[in-house]
C-alpha cells in the first residue's frame, strides 16, 4: 500500500456540464458526506492533485484545457469521469460542438454513471480509483515510468 491511497487530492474540472454533477461533487465535501474523512482534499491545482475528476462532456473549447490539466498532474494519477456526459457525452453527444466523453481526450480510469451522479456513487468511484492509483504507483516503481 502506498500513501497515495490515504491522501488522494482531487482536482475537479467542470467541462460542459449542466452543473448537476458539479453540485453533487461539492455535496460530497459537505458535512453529510465529508470526503475529508478519507484524506481527500479538493486542491484546484493540477500540480498538487492525484485524481482528476471531470464532469460534463468534451467540446471544442475545453479539449485543450482537459489535456493541459491532465498533462500538468504529476504521476501517478488517475482520471475519474463523473456523470453520463463525462462517460459518453450523454444527451449532448450529438451536438455539433461535442466530441463525446472524456475518454476521447485522455485515458479515463473510472467511470461514474448517473445523471446526475449521486454523491455516494462519486465517493464510490473515487475509492475505486484509489485501488488503480496504488497499482499505477507500483507499476511506476517497477517499470520506471510508463503509466
Amino acid at each position: 500500500m502506498s500513501y497515495l491511497t490515504k491522501s488522494p487530492w482531487i482536482i475537479h474540472y467542470d467541462a460542459s456540464s449542466c452543473n448537476g454533477c458539479d453540485i453533487e461533487v461539492l455535496a460530497s465535501l459537505t458535512p453529510l458526506y465529508d470526503v475529508e474523512r478519507f484524506g481527500i482534499i479538493n486542491t484546484g491545482n493540477p500540480k498538487h492533485a492525484d485524481i482528476f475528476l471531470v464532469t460534463g462532456s468534451v467540446n471544442e473549447q475545453n479539449k485543450e484545457v482537459i489535456k493541459n490539466i491532465y498533462d500538468q498532474m504529476p504521476k501517478p494519477n488517475v482520471v475519474v469521469g463523473v456523470g453520463i456526459c463525462a462517460c459518453s457525452g450523454g444527451v449532448f453527444r450529438e451536438c455539433y460542438n461535442v466530441s463525446g466523453g472524456v475518454g476521447e481526450i485522455i485515458p479515463v480510469d473510472v467511470y461514474v454513471p448517473g445523471c446526475s451522479a449521486k454523491p455516494e456513487a462519486i465517493i464510490d468511484g473515487v475509492v475505486k480509483a484509489l485501488g488503480i492509483l496504488d497499482q499505477k504507483y507500483k507499476a511506476l516503481k517497477e517499470g520506471g515510468g510508463s503509466n
Binding site: 502506498s2 458535512p31 484524506g39 482534499i41 484546484g44 500540480k47 498538487h48 504521476k75
Partner: protein, 290 residues
C-alpha cells in the same frame, strides 16, 4: 560561553527538535484539521493525515518549471530547521529571528523563480506578510530580553519570573501575528487551502511532489518553533500554565481560522503594524515606567 551551546542538554533538545518536530507538528496539524472539521459538523480526517500527505507527496513525480526552484525550496527547509535548532539549542533569539526571515526569503525566491503569475502574486503577498510580522517578532525578542536580561533562549527560559507578567501586550501582539505566521484565515493571503479562484495555490502553485512535501515539512518545523516561541513567555517559571496557554492560543487560532474570512493584504499589513505599535511598542515603553 561556547560550552553553553554545546552542552549535552541543548544538544539533545536540538536533536529532538529535528527528529520529533515532523511527528509532533503533524499530530498538532492533524488535530487542527480534526477540530476544524468538528467545528464544521464533519468527522474530519485521521489525526495523522498531514503526515500521510507528506509521505504521499514524496511518492509523486516532481514537476518543475525550472530546476532551480527546488534549490530554493530545499534551502527553505534547511534554514527552517536551522531556525528551530538554534532556538531549541538555546541560541541568540535575534539570530533565530533572522534565520527565520532568511528561510522565508528562500521560499519566496523559489516562488519567484518559477515565473508563474499565481506564484508571483503569492510571493509578493508572502513578502508583505514578512514585512507585517517582522517588527512584532523583533519587539517580542527585545521585550523578553528586558525582562530576563538574556538574548539566549537558554537564558530566557530559565527566568525566575514568567515574562508574560510584564509583557501582556507583546504576548497578545504575538498571538495576533501568529495567525499570519500559521497561514490561517483571515490572513491566509499568500497560500491558501480555500482560495482556488483568485490564487490557485499562491506561493506553492508550481511546487509539486517532493518539493511541495518539503514546504509542508518546513511548515511543521515552523509550527513547533512558533509554539516554542510562545512558550518562552512563560518559561520554566510556569511550565504547566505555559503549555496550557499555548494550547489555548492554538485552539483560539483554529477558532479564528473558522470564524473569519480572508482580508485584503492592505488591511492585513496595516492592522499588524498598528497592533505592533499599540501593543508592542507601548508595552516596551511601559517597562521603563515600572
Amino acid at each position: 560561553m561556547i560550552s553553553d551551546i554545546f552542552t549535552s542538554y541543548s544538544f539533545i533538545c536540538a536533536v529532538l527538535f529535528v527528529i520529533l518536530s515532523p511527528l509532533v507538528g503533524g499530530i498538532i496539524m492533524g488535530l487542527d484539521r480534526k477540530l476544524t472539521a468538528r467545528m464544521q459538523g464533519r468527522v474530519g480526517p485521521p489525526v495523522l493525515q498531514p503526515l500521510y500527505d507528506i509521505f504521499k507527496l514524496f511518492e509523486k513525480e516532481n514537476i518543475v518549471v525550472h530546476g532551480s526552484q527546488n534549490f530554493w525550496v530545499f534551502s527553505y527547509l534547511v534554514f527552517m530547521i536551522v531556525t528551530g535548532v538554534l532556538f531549541f539549542a538555546g541560541g541568540d533569539i535575534l539570530l533565530v529571528i533572522f534565520a527565520l526571515t532568511l528561510a522565508h526569503v528562500f521560499v519566496v525566491l523559489g516562488a519567484y523563480s518559477t515565473g508563474s503569475p499565481y506564484a508571483h502574486i503569492g510571493a509578493e503577498r508572502e513578502l508583505i506578510q514578512l514585512m507585517a510580522v517582522e517588527p512584532m517578532i523583533i519587539i517580542a525578542a527585545i521585550g523578553l530580553y528586558e525582562i530576563t536580561g538574556s538574548f539566549d533562549t537558554a537564558g530566557i527560559i530559565q527566568s525566575p519570573v514568567a515574562p508574560i507578567i510584564f509583557l501582556p501586550g507583546i504576548f497578545v501582539g504575538m498571538v495576533y501575528i501568529l495567525t499570519m505566521k500559521l497561514g490561517k484565515s483571515p490572513f491566509d493571503l499568500a497560500t491558501s487551502h480555500h482560495a482556488h479562484q483568485e490564487l490557485v495555490k499562491g506561493l506553492t502553485t508550481e511546487f509539486s511532489g517532493s518539493t511541495f512535501a518539503m514546504t509542508e515539512l518546513a511548515h511543521l518545523y515552523e509550527l513547533i518553533f512558533l509554539l516554542g516561541f510562545l512558550f518562552l513567555f512563560f518559561g520554566l517559571a510556569a511550565p504547566l500554565i505555559g503549555i496550557l496557554a499555548v494550547i489555548v492560543v492554538y485552539v483560539l487560532e483554529i477558532f479564528i481560522d473558522n470564524a473569519t474570512s480572508r482580508v485584503k493584504w492592505q488591511l492585513a499589513l496595516k492592522s499588524c503594524w498598528i497592533v505592533t505599535v499599540v501593543l508592542g511598542c507601548v508595552n516596551l515603553f511601559a517597562l521603563y515606567l515600572i
